[in-house]
C-alpha cells in the first residue's frame, strides 16, 4: 500500500479514475468468511496473552522430564475456551455480515425528497431548490452550496460534458475540514467543506442534487471515523491484568521455593533413594533437577490463573448485556425502542461512573418547544383554577381546550386555559393583535401538503411553537411570498404586504417585521428579549410593563422561555424615508451590518407592549428526578452543550442542576487568559475561603491552593460553575487546566456552553487524565435522522476517540439505528440512564466483583494444595489430584455455580437500588474488588488449601479401611481432598451468594451431582479397560467414598474451612453493616410485611430565572425570505406527489432556475461556528443569486 498524498478525481472519466483503484462504495466491517474463519480466528485468539501462555504450557508438558501433568489437562480446557470464543466471534461476524448487506443494499441511485442518507462523500455540484418540509424533524439546518461555476450544470447533457478534475486531500477522518481544488476549463476553483456532501447527511429542501464522488465506501469521512473502533477496557480489566501479573510473580516465587526445596531434597535424601529410583543422567546435578522441577511446578500451578477466567468474564458481560437489552423498564413504547447494550465489554464499568458528560438538546430536552402561557395586555393566560380559585396542576388528564372551531388547527397542540379562546371569540383587540403578531413576525416557512394540512418549517423550535399557537387560536399563517404573508384570521383570508424583516441576531435579541395590512396601515411587529423590548417601549406603557414584568417573573420562575411582544403603528412618510435609508444601507459593502443595525434601532422605538409569551422547553420525562437521583449517588453531571450560556443555564435551572438555594453560581465568561485565570482563582478562593472559615475559622492563605483534594470532601456548601466556550478554550490550556479542574470538582454542577466537539473531548480527557475516574458521555442519538451526521461528529470525538469517555451512551429515537452506531449503550430516554447505572451498572459491578473474588479464592484453594504436598513428596511435582480432576475442576465442576452467581446475584433488588442511590458509591470507590480484596480472597484460598491438605493428612497417616486393608494411598487421598474441595467451594459459594434462584439451586446441586457422576465414570472399570494408563484411579472412588472415615474427614474439613469465613462475615454485617446490608435488612422486613406503596421522589423546580428565548435564538432566515430565494413557486402542486419524478418540464424549468442550496441537516453541536455560518452564508447567497 502506498500512502496517498493527493487524490485526483476526474468527472465522467472512469478510465482515468480507475487507474488509482480507489475504494468502491462497498462497506465491509465483517472479518471472516466461511473459509478464512478458522485460521484467522485461531490466529487472533492465539495473539491473546492468556491463550499464548497456555500454548507455552502445553509445549512444556510435552517434555517428559518436566511434564507433571498430562497433555489433556491443558488441551481440554484450552479447546473448550477457544471453541466458546470462536462461536461468539462467529456470531458477531454473522451479524456484521448482515448489517453490511443491509448498508450496501441501501438505495442510492434515486434521490428522493425527504429523509435520504447520502452514502458517499461527494462534491456538490448543483441541485434543485424547493422548500422542503419536514417540519418537526429538524430545526437546525446547514446550508451547503455548490460552486457558482458548476451550479448551472443541472442539465443531464451538460453534466455529461463536465470534465473537471478535482485534486484534493487523501481520505481522512476530519469531518469539518476539506481542502481541494477543482480544475476545469483551465481555471482553478478552491473547494472547502461547504461544498461537500458527506456520507451520513440528509438532504432537505431539495428534490435532487448532482455531485461528483470524491470518496466512497470505507474512505468516506464518516466511515473513517467509525472504522477505528478502539477496544475499550474497563478498570476491572486493567486491575485483573495487574493481578494476573502478580499471580505470575507469585507463581514464579513458589516455583523457585519449591525448586530450591527440590535441589536440597535431592542432594540430601534423593541421593540415598537412588537404589529404588535411580537418577536420570540430567539429574546428576541436583541444581538442574531443581531447575526442571521449577518448570514442573509452573505447569502444576497454572490453574491459579485459570484459562477459563477470561472466557467466564466475557460470558458474564454478555449475560449482563442481554439483561440490559431485555429490561422492560428501559423500553420506550412510544418509539418502540428497547435499551441496547452495543458493546459487551463495559458493563461493570457502569457501576463505577463518577462523571457524566451530557449533551443538552435531545438528551436532557426533547427539543420540543411548547407554547404554554402568555400574558396579554396585563392578563395572564395558561393557568387553570378550580372553583376555589386555587391553581390546578396540569396533568395528562386535564381537559384540553377545544379548537374545533378552527378547521386549520394543529391537533397536536394542547392548551388548557379556555379563557384565552373565549377572549379570542369575544374579539378582544389586544388578544387578536397579540396572535396576529405571532402569525406575522417570524421566519417560518409554511407548506400545505394538501388543503388545510399545514406543516411549518421553523428555524428554531421556539418560533414553530409560537406560530403554531397563533394558528390554533385562529390566526393561521398560511403562505408567504417574498413580498406578502397570507394569514387566515378567524377563517378569513388576509394578505399582508411584507415590507421589511428586521431579523434576529445575537446583539439585537429581537426581531421585527414591518407589514402593510389590507386597510393600508403600516405596522411594525416586534418580539424579543423582555429587557430589550422594555427599553424601547413608549413611556405610556409603564403600568402595563410592570404587570407584564411580574408575569414574566412568574413564567421564568417556572423555567419557561419568555419573549416580550410589542407593536407600533408607523407613519407612511416616516416609513418611506426610513425604507430608502435601508435600501441604501443594504447595498453598501463596508460596515453594512453596523449601518443596518443603526437603522433597525432607529425604527424600533416607542413600541407599544402587547404582552409576553412563555414557552416550555420540554425536558424529557423524568430528567430533573434522574439528575437529582444521580447526584445523590455522587455522580457529577457536567453538561457540555453548544448552546448559548443563557439557554444552558436556563436548562440547568429547569432540570434542577442549578438552584436558587445554591451558595453561588460562578459564571466564567471572559476572553483573555488573564481574565479567565482571575475569575477561576477568585471563584476557588471564594469556595475555599468560605469553607475554611466555616469549618475552622482560620484562613491560611498560603496553603490555600496546595491541598485541594482534602477540602473537596469537606465542602458542604453547594456551588455551580458555568463556563462558556471562549473561556473554556483558555482554561483548558496546560497552565490553567488544574485550576479549572479543581474548581469544577468543588462544584456540584458544571455547565460548559458553546463548546465545540473538540472541547468536549478535551474536557472529558482532562477529567479522565487527572481524576482517574470513570466517565460516561451521553449524547442524543437524535430523534431525528438529520442529526446523525453531527451525531457522528459528536461521537467521533466524544466517544470513539480512545481519549474520550470510558462509556458512551446514545439516546436513540425512531431512527435510532444510525444515530447510536457509535455508542456503547443506547436507549430512548435520558431517564433510563438512572436505571442503567444504578441498577444494571451496580449489579454488573457487584456481580463481577463477587465473581472475581470467588474465582480467585476457588483457584487458590484448589491449586495451593500442591504446594503443601510438595513438602511430603520430595518436591517432585507430584500432583495431589487425579489429572482428570485437574482438567475438569474449573470448567465443569465449579464453573456453572459461579457463573450463575455472576449472572443472577442481587444483593438489593432494583427498586431499592433506585431508592437508595447511595448504594452506588462503593462502585465509585472501587470497594468491592481491589487489591486489598484480592489479597483477602487469595488469603482465604490459601487458608482453605492449607486446611484441605492438612486435615486429611493428619487423618490419613493413621487411617486404614474398615476391612483393615491399607488405605493411606495417594489415590484415596486425592479423591478425599478433591471431594472435600468441591464440597467446600460449593458451600462457600452458597454463603457468598445473596440471591438463590431456581437456577442457582440447579447449578450448585447439579455441579455436585456432575462431580460425583464424573468421578465414578472416570474411575469405572470400563474407562480403565479402554485406557488403563489414562485412568489409573479405577475403583478408588468406590472404595474411598464408601468409608465412613472419609466422610468424617470431609465433614470436618468442610466445617473447619467454612466456619472462620462465616464468623467474619457475620461480625462484619453485625457490627459494621454497610448500606447494602441495611437496605437488604429493610427489604426483608418489607417483604414480610407485604408490598408497600413506593414514595416517589418529586423534584420541584424552583427558579427565579428569566429565561429568554431571545438569547438563544440564532440569526434567522429573514434575509433569505426577503431575498425571495428558496421560495417555492406553487405551494401545493409541485410537491403533491412525493417520491414521484416531477413532470420533466417543471423539472428542467426548475433546474434552470438553478436554486443552489441544499441544506444538510445539522445539530447544534457545531456550536461556535454556527451563528457565524449563517452570517457568512446569507450574503453569499445573495451574490450567487
Amino acid at each position: 500500500m502506498y500512502a496517498e498524498k493527493e487524490r485526483h478525481v476526474k468527472a465522467n472519466a472512469r478510465d482515468y479514475n480507475d487507474k488509482f483503484s480507489y475504494a468502491d462504495n462497498h462497506i465491509k466491517t465483517s472479518k471472516y468468511n466461511v473459509f478464512t474463519f478458522l485460521p484467522i480466528n485461531l490466529f487472533e485468539q492465539f495473539q491473546r496473552v492468556a491463550n499464548a501462555y497456555f500454548v507455552v504450557l502445553l509445549i512444556l508438558q510435552i517434555i517428559p522430564e518436566i511434564s507433571s501433568l498430562s497433555w489433556f489437562t491443558t488441551v481440554v480446557p484450552l479447546v473448550l475456551v477457544l471453541a466458546i470464543t470462536a462461536v461468539k466471534d462467529a456470531t458477531d461476524d454473522y451479524f456484521r455480515h448482515k448489517s453490511d448487506r443491509q448498508v450496501n443494499n441501501r438505495q442510492s441511485q434515486v434521490l428522493i425528497r425527504g429523509r435520504y442518507f447520502i452514502t458517499l462523500d461527494a462534491l456538490y455540484t448543483c441541485c434543485q431548490i424547493t422548500c422542503s418540509n419536514d417540519y418537526i424533524l429538524e430545526t437546525n439546518l446547514k446550508v451547503r452550496q455548490a460552486l457558482t461555476i458548476t451550479s448551472d450544470l443541472g442539465d443531464i447533457t451538460k453534466l455529461m460534458d463536465f470534465d473537471g478534475e478535482v485534486i484534493c486531500e487523501p481520505p481522512n477522518n476530519k469531518l469539518d475540514k476539506f481542502t481541494g481544488t477543482l480544475y476545469w476549463r483551465d481555471n482553478k476553483y478552491p473547494l472547502d467543506n461547504e461544498k461537500m456532501l458527506l456520507r451520513g447527511c440528509v438532504l432537505r429542501n431539495t428534490e435532487w442534487c448532482f455531485g461528483l464522488v470524491i470518496f466512497a465506501g470505507l474512505q468516506t469521512k464518516l466511515m473513517q471515523n467509525c472504522g477505528k473502533t478502539s477496544f475499550k477496557r474497563t478498570s476491572i480489566d486493567k486491575l485483573m491484568n495487574t493481578l494476573v501479573l502478580w499471580i505470575f510473580a507469585f507463581l514464579i516465587c513458589m516455583g523457585v521455593i519449591l525448586a530450591i526445596g527440590n535441589t536440597i531434597w535431592e542432594s540430601q535424601i534423593g541421593r540415598n533413594f537412588q537404589v529404588f529410583l535411580p537418577w536420570d543422567d540430567f539429574q546428576r546435578n541436583a541444581v538442574f533437577s531443581g531447575f526442571l522441577t521449577f518448570w514442573s511446578y509452573i505447569i502444576i500451578f497454572n490453574t491459579v490463573v485459570p484459562i477459563s477466567l477470561y472466557v467466564s468474564v466475557e460470558v458474564l458481560r454478555l449475560g449482563h448485556s442481554y439483561f440490559i437489552n431485555w429490561d422492560r423498564k428501559m423500553y420506550y413504547s412510544q418509539t418502540d425502542t428497547a435499551a441496547e447494550a452495543r458493546t459487551t465489554t463495559l458493563n461493570e464499568e457502569l457501576g463505577q461512573v463518577e462523571f457524566i458528560f451530557s449533551d443538552k438538546t435531545g438528551t436532557l430536552t426533547q427539543n420540543i418547544m411548547v407554547f404554554s402561557k402568555c400574558s396579554i395586555n396585563g392578563k395572564m393566560f395558561g393557568d387553570i383554577y378550580n372553583e376555589y380559585d386555587q391553581k390546578v396542576e396540569i396533568t395528562e388528564k386535564t381537559a384540553c381546550v377545544d379548537f374545533s372551531f378552527n378547521p386549520l388547527c394543529d391537533p397536536r397542540f394542547k392548551f388548557y386555559d379556555s379563557s384565552l379562546v373565549e377572549a379570542i371569540k369575544l374579539e378582544d383587540l389586544a388578544v387578536q393583535e397579540f396572535f396576529r403578531l405571532l402569525a406575522l413576525c417570524h421566519t417560518v416557512m409554511p407548506e400545505e401538503k394538501s388543503e388545510g394540512q399545514l406543516v411549518y418549517q421553523a428555524q428554531s423550535p421556539d418560533e414553530g411553537a409560537l406560530v403554531t399557537a397563533a394558528r390554533n387560536f385562529g390566526f393561521v399563517f398560511r403562505a408567504r411570498t417574498p413580498e406578502t404573508i397570507t394569514l387566515c384570521e378567524m377563517g378569513r383570508a388576509v394578505t399582508y404586504q411584507l415590507l421589511a424583516i428586521l431579523d434576529f441576531n445575537n446583539v439585537r435579541k429581537r426581531m421585527s417585521v414591518i407589514v402593510r395590512n389590507p386597510e393600508g396601515h403600516i405596522k411594525l411587529y416586534s418580539k424579543g428579549a423582555d429587557t430589550i423590548i422594555f427599553d424601547r417601549l413608549d413611556p405610556s406603557n409603564e403600568d402595563l410593563m410592570y404587570t407584564t414584568s411580574e408575569h414574566l417573573n412568574e413564567f421564568a420562575g417556572e423555567g419557561l422561555r419568555t419573549l416580550a411582544l410589542a407593536y407600533k403603528d408607523l407613519d407612511e412618510d416616516d416609513f418611506d424615508v426610513w425604507m430608502k435609508k435601508l435600501l441604501f444601507a443594504s447595498t453598501v459593502i463596508e460596515n453594512r451590518e453596523e449601518q443596518l443595525a443603526v437603522l433597525y434601532e432607529e425604527i424600533e422605538q416607542g413600541l407599544k407592549l402587547l404582552g409576553a409569551t412563555a414557552i416550555e422547553d420540554k425536558l424529557q420525562e423524568g430528567v430533573p428526578e434522574t439528575i437529582a437521583c444521580l447526584s445523590l449517588a455522587d455522580i457529577k453531571i457536567w453538561v457540555l452543550t453548544g448552546d448559548k450560556l443563557e439557554t444552558a443555564m436556563n436548562i440547568g435551572y429547569s432540570c434542577n442542576m442549578l438552584r436558587d438555594d445554591m451558595n453561588e453560581v460562578f459564571v466564567i465568561s471572559s476572553h483573555t487568559v488573564q481574565e479567565v485565570q482571575q475569575q477561576l482563582r477568585t471563584a476557588k478562593e471564594h469556595i475555599l475561603g468560605l469553607s475554611r472559615v466555616s469549618s475552622t475559622g482560620d484562613v491560611e492563605k498560603t496553603n490555600m491552593f496546595a491541598v485541594d483534594s482534602v477540602f473537596e470532601e469537606t465542602i458542604i456548601a453547594e456551588y455551580a460553575l458555568v463556563i462558556n466556550g471562549h473561556s473554556l478554550a483558555h482554561a483548558l490550556e496546560p497552565q490553567l487546566e488544574h485550576v479549572l479542574l479543581d474548581l469544577a470538582c468543588l462544584c456540584k454542577t458544571v455547565i460548559c456552553c458553546r463548546v465545540t466537539p473538540l472541547q468536549k473531548a478535551q474536557v472529558v480527557e482532562l477529567v479522565k487524565r487527572h481524576k482517574g475516574a470513570v466517565t460516561l458521555a451521553i449524547g442524543d442519538g437524535a430523534n431525528d435522522v438529520s442529526m446523525i451526521k453531527s451525531e457522528y461528529q459528536d461521537r467521533s470525538l466524544l466517544l470513539m476517540d480512545p481519549k474520550a469517555a470510558h462509556i458512551g451512551v446514545g439516546i436513540s429515537g425512531q431512527e435510532g439505528m444510525q444515530a447510536v452506531l457509535a455508542s456503547d449503550y443506547s436507549f430512548a430516554q435520558f431517564r433510563y440512564l438512572q436505571r442503567l447505572l444504578l441498577v444494571h451498572g451496580r449489579w454488573s459491578y457487584f456481580r463481577m466483583c463477587n465473581f472475581l473474588c470467588y474465582f480467585f479464592y476457588k483457584n487458590f484453594a484448589f491449586t495451593l494444595v500442591h504446594f503443601w504436598y510438595a513438602f511430603f513428596c520430595g518436591f517432585s511435582a507430584q500432583t495431589v489430584y487425579d489429572q482428570w480432576f485437574i482438567t475438569l475442576f474449573n470448567i465443569v465442576y465449579t464453573s456453572l455455580p459461579v457463573l450463575a452467581m455472576g449472572l443472577f446475584d442481587q444483593d438489593v433488588n432494583d427498586q431499592n437500588s433506585l431508592r437508595y442511590p447511595c448504594l452506588y458509591k462503593p462502585g465509585q470507590q472501587n470497594l468491592l474488588f481491589n487489591k486489598r480484596q484480592f489479597f483477602l480472597c487469595t488469603l482465604q484460598g490459601m487458608g482453605t488449601s492449607f486446611l484441605l491438605f492438612f486435615i486429611p493428612y493428619g487423618a490419613f497417616s493413621v487411617m486404614v479401611k474398615e476391612d483393615g486393608s491399607h488405605f493411606s494411598d495417594q489415590q484415596t487421598f486425592a479423591v478425599t481432598i478433591a471431594t472435600s474441595l468441591v464440597i467446600v467451594v460449593s458451600v462457600q459459594i452458597g454463603l457468598d451468594k445473596h440471591f438463590w434462584t431456581a437456577v442457582n439451586h440447579l447449578f450448585i446441586w447439579g455441579s455436585l451431582t456432575v462431580y460425583f457422576a464424573t468421578l465414578f465414570a472416570m474411575q469405572s472399570d470400563g474407562m480403565f479397560g479402554i485406557f488403563p494408563r489414562n485412568f489409573p484411579f479405577v475403583g478408588t472412588a468406590r472404595n474411598c467414598l464408601s468409608e465412613k472415615s472419609v466422610w468424617l474427614v470431609i465433614l470436618l474439613t468442610t466445617v473447619v474451612c467454612v466456619v472462620p469465613g462465616l464468623a467474619v462475615s457475620f461480625l462484619r454485617a453485625d457490627l459494621f453493616p454497610t448500606l447494602t446490608d441495611k437496605v437488604r435488612h429493610l427489604q426483608q422486613l418489607r417483604k414480610r410485611e407485604g408490598p408497600q406503596e413506593q414514595n416517589l421522589r418529586r423534584v420541584r423546580r424552583t427558579s427565579s430565572r428569566r429565561s429568554a428565548y431571545a438569547f438563544s435564538h440564532q440569526q434567522g432566515f429573514g434575509e433569505l425570505i426577503t431575498s425571495g430565494k428558496n421560495m417555492r413557486r406553487s405551494t401545493v402542486s409541485s410537491v403533491a406527489s412525493p417520491g414521484r419524478t416531477p413532470p420533466s418540464s417543471t423539472w428542467i424549468e426548475n433546474v434552470l432556475k438553478r436554486k443552489n442550496e441544499v441544506s444538510c441537516a445539522n445539530d447544534e453541536s457545531a456550536g461556535g461556528p454556527e451563528s457565524s455560518d449563517g452570517a457568512k452564508q446569507t450574503p453569499k447567497q445573495q451574490h450567487t443569486d
Binding site: F95, F273, R328, D910, S957, H966, L1048, F1066, Q1084
Partner: protein, 353 residues
C-alpha cells in the same frame, strides 16, 4: 445481538415480560443474622463434640502394638548385612519378641510399616505400566517408557512387572508365633489372601490370558525385576492362584502410599483356629523375620503393627481429637460472637439508617 423477532406491531421490540428476563425470578435471599448464624454455630459445636466423644470412646476400645524392628532383637546383624549390596542374594533371618499386656479382641490385623520411604515421588509413581499389569500382551513385551530404567534388563529383555514401584517391592516376610503358657510356640495363622481391594484384585490387576498355558509360559520372554529373587509367577509358592500380577502382596505394594511413612497390610489373623477365635490373647510373641528389604540407604525404618479395628478404621486418634478441638473452637467462637452481638449489634442496632 440482533435477535430476530417474529412479533410485529407497535410494541414489536418490547422485551418479554418474563421473570427471568426482568431479573425478577423468585428467590430466597438469606442474610447472615444472629438468629441464623449463632444457632448454627452452637449446633455445629454440638455435633462436632458428640462425634468427637463418640469417636474417642470407640478408639479407646481398640488396641495397637507397634514395633520398630529395623535393628531390634537379632535384626541388627541383618541390618549390617544389608548395608552391603553384594550380599543382596544372601538371605538373613532374625527374630524379635514382644509382649501383649492385654488381649487383642476381635479381628487383628498385621501390618508392615516403612518410614522415610518415598512412594510418592512423581517419577517413582509414574514408573509403572498399568497396561502391563492388567495383562495386556502388547505391554507385556513392550513396557511403557515410563518404566525406564526398569523397563528392560541389560540384555534388552522386557521386565514384567516393569518400573521402579514393582522393582522395589517390600520383600521381608514374617512368621508370628505365640508363646503358650506351657512354653509351646504356636504359629499364628494369618490370612494372606483377600486383603486387597476388590477392584484392584479383579479389575486393575489381571494376569495375561493363559489360554491353557501356564503363567510361566505366557510370561516367557520377560524377565523378573532386577531386585527380585523370584519371577512374578512364583511369588506365592503355596497358592498358584495368587501368582503373577494378581499376587496380593504385589497389589498392595503397587497401591502407592501418599506419604513417606506408611503401613501396609501383611495379613489378617485367621480366627478359625480355636486358640485365636477371640483374637490374640495376652502374652509373649515372637516374630521370625526374613530380613531382605534394605532401608539403610535412605535412612528408613521398618516396623510391624498389630491392631484391632473400629467402625471407622484402625486406631485413629486424629479424628476424635480433631473433632473435639474443632468443637471447642467453634463453641468458643460462638460464645464470643454471642457476647459481641449482645453488646454491640443486638436487635439490628447497627441496622438503623
Amino acid at each position: 445481538m440482533g435477535k430476530v423477532k417474529v412479533k410485529s406491531g407497535p410494541l414489536a421490540r418490547r422485551p418479554d415480560n418474563s421473570a427471568f428476563k426482568q431479573q425478577r425470578l423468585p428467590a430466597w435471599s438469606p442474610m447472615l443474622t444472629a438468629n441464623t448464624v449463632l444457632p448454627f454455630f452452637y449446633l455445629m459445636a454440638l455435633i462436632c463434640m458428640l462425634l468427637g466423644v463418640w469417636l474417642l470412646l470407640t478408639v479407646q476400645g481398640t488396641q495397637e502394638m507397634k514395633m520398630d524392628y529395623t535393628k531390634a532383637g537379632t535384626c541388627d546383624l541383618c541390618y549390617e548385612k544389608r548395608k552391603n549390596a553384594s550380599n543382596a542374594a544372601q538371605s538373613c533371618t532374625c527374630k524379635v519378641m514382644f509382649n501383649l499386656q492385654k488381649a487383642f479382641k476381635g479381628d487383628v490385623f498385621f501390618y508392615y510399616g516403612l518410614r522415610n520411604f518415598h512412594q510418592n515421588l512423581r517419577r517413582y509413581m509414574d514408573s509403572r505400566d498399568d497396561g502391563q499389569m492388567v495383562g495386556r500382551k502388547k505391554n507385556l513385551k513392550n513396557p511403557s517408557s515410563y518404566c525406564a530404567p526398569f523397563d528392560k534388563d541389560q540384555n534388552g529383555v522386557p521386565i514384567a512387572p516393569c518400573g521402579a514401584v514393582a522393582n522395589s517391592i517390600f520383600n521381608d516376610s514374617f512368621i508370628l508365633s505365640y508363646h503358650q503358657r506351657g512354653g509351646f510356640k504356636v504359629r499364628i495363622p494369618l490370612l494372606r489372601k483377600g486383603i486387597t481391594w476388590y477392584t484392584d484384585k479383579n479389575v486393575k490387576f489381571r494376569n495375561p490370558k493363559t489360554e491353557n498355558l501356564t503363567l510361566a509360559a505366557v510370561l516367557n520372554g520377560t524377565t523378573r525385576p532386577l531386585y527380585w529373587q523370584k519371577p512374578v509367577y512364583e511369588l506365592d509358592p503355596d497358592d498358584p492362584t495368587n501368582n503373577g500380577f494378581i499376587n496380593d502382596d504385589l497389589i498392595i505394594w503397587m497401591r502407592e502410599a501418599a506419604f513417606p511413612n506408611f503401613k501396609k497390610l501383611y495379613g489378617v489373623l485367621n480366627r478359625a483356629d480355636e486358640t485365636f477365635a477371640k483374637g490374640l490373647p495376652a502374652g509373649n510373641y515372637t516374630i521370625d523375620i526374613n530380613y531382605n528389604f534394605p532401608v539403610q540407604y535412605f535412612r528408613g525404618r521398618k516396623e510391624v503393627v498389630l491392631t484391632t479395628l473400629t467402625w471407622f478404621g484402625g486406631q485413629n486418634h486424629f479424628l476424635p481429637i480433631a473433632y473435639l478441638v474443632t468443637s471447642s473452637l467453634i463453641m468458643l467462637l460462638a460464645v464470643v460472637l454471642t457476647v459481641i452481638w449482645w453488646k454491640f449489634g443486638k436487635a439490628g442496632k447497627n441496622m438503623e439508617e
